[in-house]
């Protein structure tokens, strides 16, 4: 499957781009993280501490063990600081 992967805030800066299209066989978000972290040092560094990373699947908050079958857009970002 193909998904759009989005990055925000310091994740976006460390990875160096706001979004990329990824071909993946990952079953869960965690599997996708492993695949992304193996791509290069920037991805590996940005995704090294998952306690500081939040995830949304198709614009809904999800956790790392969520399945991604059918997802079109998966976003990674730090804990939110709005308000």
């Amino acid at each position: 499957m193909v998904v759009d992967v989005l990055y925000f805030a310091w994740l976006r800066e460390r990875i160096g781009q706001p979004r990329e299209r990824i071909e993946t066989e990952a079953a869960t978000v965690r599997d996708l993280v492993d695949q992304l972290a193996a791509m290069d040092d920037w991805h590996a560094a940005a995704l090294s501490d998952l306690s500081a990373v939040r995830v949304a699947i198709d614009q809904e908050l999800a956790d790392l063990d969520a399945r991604i079958a059918g997802a079109r857009e998966i976003a990674f970002f730090p804990p939110m600081t709005g308000g």
Partner: protein, 144 residues
Amino acid sequence: MSARVQTEPFDLGAEIANFGAGAGAVVTFSGLVRDEGGRLVALEIEHYPGMTEKALDTYGRMAAERFGLSDWLIIHRHGRLDVGAPIMMVATASRHRAAAFQGAEFLMDWLKSRAPFWKREITLDGPGEWVDAVETDEDALSRW
């Protein structure tokens, strides 16, 4: 009953001039950029277009149902916001004050920890650190 995400300033007085007609109690909260002891000149606020609007709308509906609000409004800005500028506001209307207060606090707790906004400090030297999430904000959610 609406949520907006925008770069432009808003005028709280104008926003609530026709808000909650018929209600007995209206509560507003507004968040402003603090100077943090003179260290900051501005905040830069990033958000997740598409998800943000959906999230704010969802939290507004949750609050309305849970507290019986007759009206609610959420406005959150993004982009560069100078010290003293309004960042965001919520307003809630209800028959009685307890529901209006609780609805506004509930909305703020959800917004702070569950709406996809990120703040970065802008100092005299330019863009600085991303603001860390505050643990008490996450804890605040558990009371609801």
